[in-house]
């Protein structure tokens, strides 16, 4: 790990502030979620946005893409979507009597997988390799993704008909699950006022490039973390395994994700080290979607987020 100079740290902070303020022009009252989204971006993960229709999931994804000035593609997941519709397909060209690979929408910088749970598990699984390893294998040929490959998937928690819950393996590959929630009445009035004539998204200009994201990621990775904090992260994640009502706890990948997002959060707060507050702040979005609850516990009204909240209360915090 290389230690960035103070100048590159300042540059990274500026990049973060520019992107955050740019998005906040569109996403009113969602500052906390925006920071978490940027933490996932800085930590090199992917995000699953789960919320009710009309809360701004797609807008947030678009705002981020526009702010970065990166290649952005949107993919609407439907039940008849095929893996080749995502990854690409080889088509026979009569002119040169050969097959040519046509890249699918996955070959981009920022991919908005809208309503991901409407596609069949077979199609959903097509993203596994791309999300986990930054590459796809099609027809025996391995093709690398771009350096910046960031998936923002959305799904609707209230609709069940015609949907397929994401497989556990895929859920684990999302670094965070975020929800926007409804904004306050004042913020909603401001949204109405802002979109009276034009949509602010249309006016959004790029404020950072792909190389700026690289600087941000490098600065995040340079945030220090002590052995004690690593142990705390492992204790929190380990507590989810075998917890009452939890059928499957969080994986070591979750520990990694928690550490990296805590580093990003610390960096955003101007710290060059991780403390328990940053770990606790990231525990819910990082762990909440990874736990598989017992059917009995689910019927009893227990939720994965409730379990994480209880664990945070019970695992002794270093002070």
């Amino acid at each position: 790990m290389t230690t960035p100079s103070e100048a590159s740290r300042v540059q990274a902070i500026e990049v973060f502030e520019k992107i955050r303020s740019n998005i906040s022009q569109v996403m009113r009252g969602q500052d906390a979620t925006t920071r978490q989204l940027l933490a996932a971006l800085a930590a090199g993960g992917h995000v699953l946005l789960e919320d009710f229709p009309g809360t701004g999931k797609t807008t947030l994804a678009k705002a981020l893409a526009k702010s970065l000035g990166a290649d952005f593609r949107r993919l609407q997941f439907t039940p008849d979507l095929l893996p080749s519709d995502i990854l690409g397909v080889s088509i026979f060209d009569q002119r040169d009597q050969g097959f040519h690979f046509h890249e699918g929408p996955v070959f981009t910088n920022i991919l908005l997988a809208d309503e991901i749970n409407r596609a069949s598990p077979r199609t959903q699984s097509a993203l596994l390799e791309a999300m986990g390893e930054g590459q796809v294998s099609v027809e025996g040929v391995r093709r690398n993704m771009a350096d910046l490959f960031f998936i923002i998937a959305t799904q609707n928690p209230v609709e069940f008909r015609g949907t397929y819950p994401l497989p556990e393996a895929q859920m684990d590959r999302f670094m965070m699950q975020l929800s926007l929630g409804y904004v306050s009445a004042e913020e909603e009035v401001a949204i109405l006022s802002g979109q009276k004539s034009t949509h602010p998204l249309d006016l959004l200009k790029p404020v950072a490039g792909l190389e700026d994201v690289g600087v941000l990621r490098q600065a995040t990775a340079s945030v220090r973390i002590s052995e004690e904090m690593k142990r705390y992260i492992v204790d929190v994640v380990g507590a989810t395994r075998g917890y009452r009502g939890v059928q499957m706890g969080a994986s070591p990948r979750a520990s990694l994700a928690l550490m990296k997002t805590a580093q990003a959060t610390a960096f955003f707060e101007g710290l060059d080290f991780v403390g328990p507050d940053q770990v606790r702040a990231m525990a819910m979005p990082v762990l909440g979607h990874r736990l598989v609850m017992d059917p009995q516990a689910r019927f009893s009204g227990e939720t994965a987020r409730g379990v994480v909240a209880e664990i945070l209360k019970k695992v002794r915090v270093p002070v």
Binding site: R224, I225, S226, E227, E228, M229, R231, Y232, D235, G238, A239, Y243, R244, G245, D272, F273, V274, G275, P276, D277, R280, A281, Q296, F299, S300, G301, V307, A309, E310, I311, L312, K313, K314, V315, R316, V317, P318, V319
Partner: protein, 716 residues
């Protein structure tokens, strides 16, 4: 600051709100300790509302549990060791009014110890509720588990226990021991509280009505089982009474005794050891142990007659002395040490009560336990004692003078009219009448009567149904004229009646016959050695004499009924006797029990002292600072400030973290809290603790000076 690894706990099942209060109130109501129950219940319900979230370490929990253990041990020893002096644990709240009340309280405190368990364990459950985790480490309870985890270097999370429900179950158990409102009330209350406790954790898969129906069925079955067990116990108790100690049970009442005369079937007596005797080396034991005598016979029962209520208190020779003189001025040369149980219960004094089995001519009682609450003697020679359930004393006897009131001609010569024809017929067979008897010496008369019974009558414990040809004869007449066989009650009653017909005052006496040796100088008396005999008034000696006409074969016949398992029963009887000696303060072992806490305390304190010594020694050897290798910043100057903030009421909550805590402190707008310094102090400490490189020397100095400044402001 806790240096233990973080503990990971399973989820706890917290009881529903107010259930703890309800259970403790129920316990208080049932056990008569409603005020402690109310206070403890309110405390336990309030603690979660305050949410103190105290960071108890495993060592803290262990100390609390050890303290509860010590408290329990002290309570047991205090109640046990002082049951005759200060009234035991019960005296803590109720006070000991006087010696008798103190003894009552003391005895009850030994028996009622489980009643205090909710109080003794209160601290443990309160600590759990006040702790941040809301659970108690399992290793707090067991040194073995601690040792095992240490030895196996377990890396699995520390097992945690939730004591909430076990504590409630303990309270219900404790309330059940002293249900003072009837077992049905207790049962119904318990059912309601259990339903309340189980309702929140019921399975949501079933409709609540289904759950209620199943619970109701379980409750009905439990009630049926409870009643069934009670009935079974009653049945067994009744069977035991009939089967084992009928005569003995009847004789415990000095006012009247119902004999088995006239009953059909086999008379069975218990082989249980009732009395133990020890005599000086080479000396013989007394032949009889007298319990009481009776004057009036009516319908197969004997009554005390005029002596019914003439019990008089026997004072000790001097205040505090252990000798009681039954016959003033007499001092027999023979001694016997008697150990017996007081099977009855004095409702007025609230202590065990019973007749003392003593030699008929006993003139004094020595070495009486100093816990004897009362000692009374009646005109019928019965000595009634109130005191410990096991009495061990020495009886002095051998003067030949039986301490009974002089004959009363109305009672001691009275014969029921319905018995007269059969008695006259018997006297005719013996060629005796009142005139001839007057001419005979008492010895000659007794010899004639004894010879008559010995030659023509047999001892038998089986009575067949009376023949229809016998008409409406009394059982005694049937014995004298037809069956010529019976047990000691027949012989003693018939002899008393015959003597009275001949104008000689006589009484019916009951007690034990001593014949079974159990060691060089010790004897045992069993239930089947219960016996009845006569007391005859000797005009020439102006005193009562014992006169037994039961054929001597009765001892062998009763002994033949001994069971093969007698040795096993005797062993358990001996164990029971030794336990009773300790329980009732009749053993020197009790004095050693008082010292029992010393080694226990030593065993508990020694590891603490050793650990302290080792810690100090390690510090000296390693020098300060080496402990900061894995957890840097533990010597931060911030901690005194933290402790002071906690003292001022700013207790950190588990869920809020460092920043949240600081924000909450600043929100309070404490006039002495400087915001800028506090923010800087928090930041530096945070960096000191969690930055892998820690602080530079300059930053450390800044942290120390800031902490001193803030502490100064907080203190003044």
């Amino acid at each position: 600051m806790n240096a233990n690894p973080p503990a990971i706990q399973p989820q706890s099942f917290a009881p529903p709100r107010l259930l703890t209060l309800a259970v403790l109130l129920f316990w208080g109501w049932q056990s008569g300790l409603w005020l402690p129950g109310l206070l403890m219940g309110l405390a336990l319900e309030t603690i979660p509302l305050l949410n103190p979230g105290l960071e108890f370490s495993q060592d803290d929990f262990r100390r609390v549990w050890n303290f509860c253990n010590l408290l329990g041990l002290a309570a047991v020893l205090y109640a046990f060791g002082n049951n005759d002096r200060v009234g035991g644990l019960g005296g803590l709240l109720h006070g000991a009014a006087n010696n008798r009340a103190a003894m009552l309280s003391g005895v009850q405190s030994v028996l009622n110890f489980p009643r205090w368990l909710p109080i003794l364990l209160f601290l443990a459950i309160a600590a759990q509720k006040a702790s941040a985790a809301g659970l108690t480490p399992a290793t707090s309870f067991s040194p073995f588990l601690r040792w095992y985890r240490q030895k196996s270097r377990a890396i699995t999370p520390e097992p945690m226990l939730d004591l909430s429900y076990p504590y409630l179950i303990l309270c219900l158990f404790s309330a059940g021991i002293h249900a003072n409102s009837g077992s049905q009330t207790y049962f119904m209350g318990m059912i309601l509280l259990v339903a309340w406790g189980l309702w929140p954790v019921r399975s949501c898969r079933f409709h609540p009505l289904v759950w209620l129906a199943v619970f109701g069925l379980a409750a009905v079955l439990a009630l049926a089982g409870d009643v069934g067990v009670g009935k079974m116990a009653d049945f067994t108790r009744n069977l035991s009474i009939q089967w084992m100690s009928r005569l003995l049970r009847d004789r415990t009442d000095p006012k009247q005794v119902m004999t088995a005369i006239g009953e059909v079937g086999q008379l069975k007596l218990s082989g249980a050891i009732e009395v133990r005797l020890t005599v000086p080396p080479g000396a013989a034991p007394p032949e009889y142990l007298h319990l009481a005598s009776y004057r009036t016979y009516h319908r197969q029962s004997w009554f005390a007659g005029a002596a019914r209520d003439d019990f008089q208190e026997i004072p000790p020779l001097s205040s505090g002395a252990s000798t009681f003189q039954l016959i003033p001025g007499r001092s027999g040369s023979r001694l016997v040490t008697v150990s017996c149980y007081l099977a009855g219960w004095s409702s007025s004094l609230g202590v065990p009560e019973g007749l003392l089995p003593i030699p008929p001519d006993c003139d004094r009682l020595e070495d009486m336990p100093d816990t004897v609450a009362s000692l009374q003697r009646s005109g019928n020679g019965a000595v009634l004692a109130d005191g410990p359930g096991l009495m061990i004393f020495t009886a002095g006897y051998g003067t030949g003078q039986i301490p009974e009131a002089a004959p009363n001609t109305n009672e001691d010569l009275a014969v029921p009219a319905e018995e007269v024809p059969a008695l006259n017929e018997t006297l005719r067979k013996m060629s005796l009448d009142k005139t001839r008897a007057a001419t005979l010496s008492p010895q000659k008369l007794e010899s004639l009567i004894a010879g008559f019974f010995d030659s023509r009558f047999t001892y038998r414990t089986w009575q067949k149904a009376p023949s229809p040809l016998a008409g409406h004869q009394t059982p005694l007449a049937n014995f004298l004229l037809i069956t010529h066989s019976g047990h000691c009650e027949y012989f003693a009653t018939a002899t008393v009646m015959l003597l009275r017909m001949l104008g000689v005052p006589a009484r019916y006496a009951v007690g034990f016959y001593v014949h079974e040796r159990s060691g060089d100088n010790s004897y045992v008396v069993r239930g089947r050695d219960a016996h009845a005999w006569c007391l005859v008034w000797d005009r020439s000696a102006a005193g009562w004499q014992t006169f037994d006409t039961t054929p001597a074969s009765w001892v062998g016949i009763e002994g033949a009924g001994g069971k093969i398992t007698q040795a096993v029963e005797d062993f358990f009887s001996w164990l029971h006797y030794q336990a009773a000696k300790i329980r009732w303060g009749q053993s020197s072992l009790r004095s050693y029990v008082r010292w029992l806490p010393a080694p226990v305390l030593l065993a508990l304190l020694a590891p603490m002292v050793f650990r302290r010594w080792r810690r100090v020694r390690q510090k000296v050897v390693n020098g300060p600072g080496n402990q900061q290798v894995f957890r840097p910043g533990l010597d931060s100057a911030f901690y005194p400030v933290r402790d002071r903030l906690v003292e001022l009421g700013h207790v950190p909550r588990v869920e809020e973290g460092f920043a949240g805590w600081l924000a909450r402190i600043l929100e309070a707008k404490h006039p002495r809290l400087p915001e800028r310094q506090l923010r800087q102090l928090f930041h530096l400490h945070y960096r000191c603790r969690f930055h892998p490189r820690g602080l530079t020397p300059g930053e450390r100095d800044e942290l120390a000076s800031l902490a001193a400044e803030v502490l100064h402001l907080l203190n003044h």
